[in-house]
């Protein structure tokens, strides 16, 4: 008995020693990770699929070649994981990547205010002046904290074939024209518009666009930074949406549909010809393509901007949009800034445009866009007098869920236009 016990204790001690040894080995490995170069830069982005994923890998490799002694560790993470978990945790722990995705509006603001981002205003002043107004959503108090690589506006992705079949010759330009088109599409047995209200934000975008129609540019630009939603136009946006929903433009069961997941998602319905339109950002071509039967962007897909709403105060040349950018961690080596400069260069931007993954943020790269829908979006962007950032991004991460939930409630018939404004005010009050 005694011997067994001693053996057992010995075995456990050995096991514990091994475990501890294993843990130590891990840490040791981490520390010596960048052995082959003098400097190691980590770069996190959100591209998990080609062509963009391999393009970023190429960019990293080219940068390594041009800068001997520098090693770039580039990793693509799923967008929401990256945005909501990985980056906040990395920043909070003080062990952040050197170059990472930075979302415009509220998110760059809170990261900059917490002191995690390097001020790029002076070190990248040439790049910033090349880009022009596109860089503004990544500024905080006049200082530049990140450089976008893509920026696009929102509009309707639609099925040209279904439009032709329904006898719609011109794309709708006003809300009444859109409603007329919906009727014609219903007559041929198609859901006019797909929306992924189960994910909340795709439904939220409907209200954002109506808010752009209802509110004057001045109101928008004042209300959002001040978080003051007392102007009646915010309630009017909900009323416009309420009236529109009453015409039943969406697919059956839209309340539970997801936006991008599977053939029954809103993107999937458009991809498979089961719905004629979807209101979505500039990234949607790839999304729809990935859900199409042959996994390529369908021939029938095209794009038109959000409709204007007659009798409202909003400027019809204002559009809603957003983009993705890269920022540099405050303690990152200078080479990280150099890397960002390379990523943002006109040459790399032209190659990005050619992949068809999105609209490049560099104005000089627009000529390299080949995808016909993206060309339409780039034109729409060029014609915009002002691009309002997605409202949830602009207001900040805390607002997204309460705001979008209140909007979906209204679309489900269990909330009022006033409830949406109240959700905004309550969230602002708790900041």
């Amino acid at each position: 008995m005694n011997r067994t016990r001693i053996t057992r204790v010995g075995a456990i001690a050995a096991a514990t020693a091994l475990t501890i040894g294993g843990l130590t080995a891990c840490t040791a490995g981490d520390n010596t990770g960048g052995g082959d170069g003098d400097v190691t830069i980590t770069w996190w982005h959100n591209a998990t699929a080609d062509p963009q994923k391999s393009m970023w890998e190429d960019v990293a490799a080219e940068f390594e070649d041009a800068h001997p002694g520098v090693k770039v560790e580039v990793t693509g993470y799923q967008n929401e994981d990256l945005q909501r978990t990985l980056i906040p945790n990395a920043l909070a722990s003080g062990d952040a990547p050197d170059v990472f995705m930075v979302w415009p509006g509220g998110e760059v603001r809170s990261q900059a205010e917490a002191g995690h981002l390097k001020d790029l205003t002076d070190v990248l002043s040439d790049t910033i002046s090349e880009y022009g107004a596109t860089v503004k959503p990544w500024q905080v108090d006049g200082k530049q904290y990140a450089i976008p690589y893509t920026f696009g506006i929102e509009g309707f992705w639609y099925n040209k074939d279904l439009f032709a079949e329904a006898g719609i010759t011109d794309v709708p330009k006003t809300l009444p024209e859109l409603e007329a088109a919906n009727k014609k599409l219903k007559a041929i047995g198609t859901s006019p518009i797909a929306v992924g209200a189960g994910d909340l934000w795709p439904a939220g975008h409907w209200w954002y666009n109506f808010a752009l129609a209802a509110c004057s540019t001045e109101t928008l630009q004042k209300a959002i930074p001040a978080l003051d939603f007392s102007d009646p136009c915010w309630v009017e946006a909900g009323e416009l949406l309420q009236d529109f929903v009453a015409t039943e433009p969406f697919q059956p069961g839209f309340l539970a549909s997801s936006g991008q997941q599977g053939a029954d998602s809103s993107a999937g319905l458009v991809a498979n010809g089961n719905a004629a339109m979807e209101l979505m950002g500039a990234w949607n071509a790839g999304q729809i393509g990935s859900l199409a039967p042959d996994a390529t962007v369908p021939e029938f897909l095209s794009w038109f901007p959000f409709v204007s709403v007659p009798g409202t105060a909003g400027d019809p040349t204002i559009t809603m949009g957003g983009g993705d950018g890269f920022g540099v961690y405050k303690d990152a080596p200078d080479e990280a800034v150099e890397l960002l400069k390379y990523i943002a260069s006109e040459d790399v931007q032209k190659r990005f445009a050619a992949t068809g993954a999105g609209i490049p943020a560099h104005p000089g790269a627009n000529s390299s866009i080949t995808d016909p829908s993206l060309k339409l979006i780039a034109e729409g962007l060029a014609e915009s007098s002002y691009v309002q950032l997605w409202l949830d991004s602009d207001l900040g991460p805390t607002f997204g869920n309460p705001l979008n939930q209140a909007i979906v409630n209204l679309m489900a018939g269990s909330g009022t236009p006033e409830d949406i404004v109240k959700a905004l005010e309550d969230t602002a009050a708790a900041l």
Partner: protein, 320 residues
């Protein structure tokens, strides 16, 4: 009660009656305990106790997760959560699921277990088949159901093909029925576990008692009702406990299928915590603490009153 002697004998833990004579033995005993429990204890404190304490600390701050903890706001996060109708509805949904589980899954599981406990052909196969959903990964099961129950999904297609097209509907998108559809999925997923527990419990019910009863002229149903089910008590009580805790912490199935929608019809406390905690971990922590306290209070009350005998507070019984 006579049940106890049946399962009992193996439980008595070895060295208790020996009184350690020499202090050397004592030291060695403690060393052994430290070695055995030490690593687990370190992990437990580091990954369970510490996070709970930290969450409690965070919950008193208005904090976005990026800055230092500076803005102490007392109980404001708690007041905000508990006065939010969305959260109150989520608590209600958790309670509905917990109660419905006990009232519907429990009797169902006992019935099936009694049935499967009889000798018959293909028993092993049926037992295995019933347990399959429980073994299936939650996300896979959730996605499958999401696809099956979507407006253009398999369930509606089947209904239309058998002439019941009128019943076809967007199952998870209809706020009036979504919670019950969700409960159906959960029952499909978890009743196998309940059946397995009950079957295991039935193995501890002595055959002799039923034999004696049948000699006395009791019918099969009378035997089950008067003998088997009462003797199954400890198993039923532990299952009810597990079921309540599981219902309170329900997250993955809801997240995968509906994300708590439509309009909060299937929302639960854990889903609310993730959604509304975004960008404000302080508030999220307050919701987590509320969820923790509700679970803790229910667990303690239940253990105190319902499981007292099963947990060996009563000397005659063995441990769980």
């Amino acid at each position: 009660m006579s049940t106890i002697t049946q399962a009992g004998p193996a439980v008595t833990a070895g060295p208790a009656p020996e009184t350690p004579a020499r202090p050397r033995r004592d030291t060695r005993k403690w060393l052994e305990i430290a070695l055995l429990a030490g690593p687990a204890l370190v992990v437990f404190v580091g990954f369970v106790i510490l996070p709970v304490i930290l969450a409690a600390v965070y919950s008193f701050y208005n904090w976005n997760g990026l800055t230092a903890l500076e803005r102490f706001i007392g109980f404001d996060n708690y007041i905000r959560a508990l006065s939010d109708p969305v959260f109150l509805k989520a608590i209600g949904n958790n309670a509905t699921i917990a109660i419905a589980s006990i009232l519907i899954q429990g009797p169902l599981a006992i019935l099936v277990a009694l049935f499967l406990n009889r000798k018959m052909r293909g028993r092993t196969f049926v037992r295995a088949a019933i347990f399959v959903p429980y073994v299936l990964a939650e996300v896979i099961a959730g996605l499958s159901w999401k696809l099956l129950l979507s407006p253009r999904g398999g369930v509606n297609a089947v209904l239309e093909n058998i002439g019941l097209g009128d019943l076809a509907q967007p199952w998870l998108a209809n706020p009036d029925i979504a919670l019950w559809v969700m409960f159906g999925i959960l029952t499909w997923k978890y009743v196998g576990f309940a059946i397995l527990l009950m079957l295991a419990g039935l193995q501890g019910v002595p055959q002799e008692l039923s034999e004696a009863a049948s000699i006395d002229g009791a019918s099969w149903w009378q035997t089950q009702w008067n003998i088997t089910i009462p003797l199954l008590g400890p198993t039923i009580r532990i299952w009810v406990f597990l079921s309540i805790i599981g219902s309170l912490q329900l997250f993955d199935m809801v997240w995968v299928t509906t994300k708590g929608g439509p309009i909060g019809a299937t929302n639960t406390m854990a889903v609310y915590m993730i959604q509304y905690g975004q960008g404000q971990p302080g508030f999220g922590s307050a919701v987590a603490v509320i969820l923790f306290l509700i679970s803790l209070v229910i667990a303690l009350v239940y253990q105190r009153y319902a499981m007292r005998r099963d947990l060996g507070t009563d000397k005659k019984n063995e441990g769980r």
